[in-house]
Amino acid sequence: MTDYLVLSGVLFVIGTLGVLLRRNALIVFMSIELMLNAVNLAFVSFARQWGDMTGQVIVFFVLVVAAAEVVVGLAIIVNIFRTKETVDIDDIDLLRG
C-alpha cells in the first residue's frame, strides 16, 4: 500500500513542478488537475487500506470541485486572452485590463 501512497506523492510533486516551472496558463492549469488527481489516488489508497468507503466518497467531491474550478478558470483564461492576447502568466502582472 505504501507504493500507491509514494506514487501519489510523486505525481503531486510533478504537478507542483509544472505549476512552478511552466508559464503557459493552460499547462499550469493542467498541472493543478494533476495534483488533484494525485490526492485522489491517496484517498482511494486509504479507503482500500481501512476498508472504509469515506475515502471514495471524498474523491467524488474532489471531482465536483475540479469540474467547477475548470469551468470558471478556463472562462477567466479566455477573458484574459481576449484583452491581453497572451496566456503567459509572467506577462499578466497588472491588476487592470
Binding site: L7, G9, I14, R22, N24, N37, V64
Partner: protein
C-alpha cells in the same frame, strides 16, 4: 500479477505526467495528460474503486479534458510562452523545493509503515456502496456540491458574456 499491473500503470502515470509538464505545445500536453488520467483510472480499479474509476474516465477524460482541448483550440494563435523568463531564480529554487517536498512526503508515508491491506468486503467500491455512503452520511455535502456546480455554471456564463450596454 497485481504488482506487475501496478508498476506498468505507475510508469505510465509518471511518464505521461512528466511528458505533460515538459511538452512544448498545449495540445500535446492535453493528449498526454489523457494517458495520466487513464493510468490513474486503472490504479483505482486495482484498489477496488470501480465506480470512482468510471467517474474518472467520464468526468476527467470525457468532460474536463475536452473543455481544455476546446479552449486550447480557441486560443491557438499566441498560446505559447514568451521567450523571456522574468523571474530568474524561480527555476532552480522550484526544483530544489519540489525535491524537498517529495522527500518529506515519501518519508511520511514510509514511516507510517502500512502493511498489506485487509481483503476487501464484498461489493466494495461499487456504485451501490459509494451511493449508500454518499446519501447516508454525506447528504448535506452532496447538496452543497450541487449548489457549487450551479455557481460554476453561472460564473462561466457571466464571465464569458460580452460586455454590452446595460
Amino acid at each position: 500479477m497485481e504488482q506487475v499491473l501496478f508498476w506498468l500503470l505507475a510508469a505510465g502515470a509518471v511518464g505521461s505526467s512528466l511528458a505533460m509538464i515538459t511538452g512544448r505545445k498545449p495540445v500535446h500536453c492535453a493528449v498526454v495528460f489523457l494517458g495520466t488520467l487513464i493510468s490513474l483510472a486503472g490504479l483505482f480499479l486495482l484498489l477496488y474503486a470501480q465506480f470512482v474509476a468510471i467517474l474518472q474516465i467520464i468526468i476527467y477524460a470525457g468532460a474536463i479534458l475536452v473543455l481544455f482541448l476546446f479552449v486550447i483550440m480557441l486560443l491557438h494563435a499566441h498560446s505559447g510562452e514568451g521567450p523571456v523568463e522574468k523571474l530568474r531564480l524561480q527555476r532552480p529554487l522550484a526544483i530544489v523545493f519540489s525535491l524537498v517536498l517529495l522527500a518529506g512526503i515519501s518519508l511520511l508515508f514510509l514511516q507510517a509503515g502500512l502493511g498489506g491491506p485487509p481483503s476487501p468486503e464484498a461489493g466494495m467500491g461499487t456504485a451501490e456502496s459509494v451511493g449508500q455512503a454518499l446519501f447516508d452520511r454525506f447528504i448535506l455535502p452532496f447538496e452543497v456540491a450541487s449548489v457549487l456546480l450551479l455557481a460554476g455554471i453561472l460564473g462561466a456564463v457571466v464571465l464569458s458574456k460580452k460586455e454590452g450596454p446595460s
